[in-house]
Symmetry: C2
Subunit: 211 residues, 2 copies
DNA sequence: TCACTGGATTTTGTATACAAATTAAATTAA
DNA sequence: TTAATTTAATTTGTATACAAAATCCAGTGA
């Protein structure tokens, strides 16, 4: 277990609920679990803390942040502001070959039958990211990456993604065609609707759970 | 030099140019400079890295990121998306007492004659933040804080803030009055203009420097 | 001259040990 | 019983020492 991979592993294990929401992460427990000393554990935790993938719980202890509907809504609203911006700035640089690569991704999602919900989610995000990366905006991309990571924790609720998967996939195709047709503003409107819809579905689901 | 303060100190020293743009930060040099072992230095660097206040330079070494006009423009564009959102979400919660506190801040800025450019900048940001905090959006506030920290590094160029200080301050008063008059949309339009203007001024200055 | 290899040197990564702080528990007093 | 306070336990923070890796540079060859 090398340093970078410990950070990745810990992140993944938080996503997958091995360290569930609300759990206090103490360094010794983690160091024993991953068979490393506390030093690399500390390094990983510092990074995760800065990304809000773990939060302070008291004066010195860290915990996996609870998942609240209010925060999910907030995260989606932020994405709703930033992703259209990313698409707008990417647009002039979208080449035919890049759009082709994006199409390949969509084909792969369709063809690969035995994809887990998590895998399909990852590929969907890769589709978005492929478009956004053309924007050449390092800070924006970093923020979007970070936001997506946080949102990902909420998507453990399979019911949501199952229901929404088809609609979402269709919208990806539409988005691609609009971009090919140089219809930026329409594409952005679609993207906004796409994000908003996903956000509303998630938030509704979360509120239903707590009620 | 305790742990939290080492992080703060390092951040401040980067802002102030003690570790200038492009400088490679090696752990030993830092640990000697701050009279601590490398462990707390590593912790601080991990956090700063996650916030992009230091960036990788090669495979393992970290450096203070260079200041480029393109990145400044990008950061201001992101703020232009997020700060209006914060104001919008804060608006319903803006109480008279809170607006009063904001006014106090503006008075303090006017009265305190011997303020350094850095201090005035800090107070100005506190004004913005005071309004935004009413939004009760932890993630949004965290992002804005982080973005502001990055932008702050660019504001070492006194010429800019000097020229813009008066206009900026006036706009703060206008913003406050519009909010008191419940004119949210006008206030947001002003805020957008406020941010855009500051961004353009900075970017123009940076481009002039490199030319 | 330039690219490249090999080894020396520097720098980062990690483990262990100990100090400081926090957290939890137990005791006491109201 | 409850709240406050002291004490014990756990947990985090830091220093030092060593291992692993990355960087630098001289030497070689084209």
């Amino acid at each position: 277990m090398t340093k970078a991979s410990l950070y990745q592993q810990l992140k993944q294990d938080i996503r997958q609920g091995i360290w569930p929401a609300g759990a206090v992460l103490n360094q010794q427990k983690l160091s024993e679990h991953y068979q490393v000393s506390r030093i690399p554990v500390r390094d990983a935790l510092q990074q995760l803390k800065a990304e809000a993938l773990v939060v302070m719980a008291g004066k010195a202890s860290l915990m996996v942040p609870p998942l609240t509907a209010a925060e999910a809504e907030e995260l989606y609203q932020i994405r709703l502001q930033l992703e259209p911006m990313a698409l707008r700035r990417a647009f002039p640089q979208l080449s035919f070959s890049l759009l082709g690569q994006a199409e390949d991704l969509l084909h792969r999602i369709e063809q690969d039958q035995h994809l887990s919900a998590a895998d399909r989610g990852a590929l969907n995000w890769q589709f978005h990211l492929m478009l956004y990366q053309a924007s050449q905006c390092p800070h924006l991309l970093r923020l979007l990456h970070s936001l997506h990571q946080q949102v990902e924790r909420y998507l453990g609720f399979q019911e949501i993604s199952m229901n929404y998967a088809d609609t979402s996939h269709q919208e990806h195709w539409q988005l691609l065609e609009l971009l090919r047709a140089q219809q930026l503003e329409t594409a952005i409107a679609l993207l906004q609707q796409h994000i908003q819809q996903a956000g509303e579905l998630l938030v509704a689901h979360l509120r239903a759970l707590t009620k």
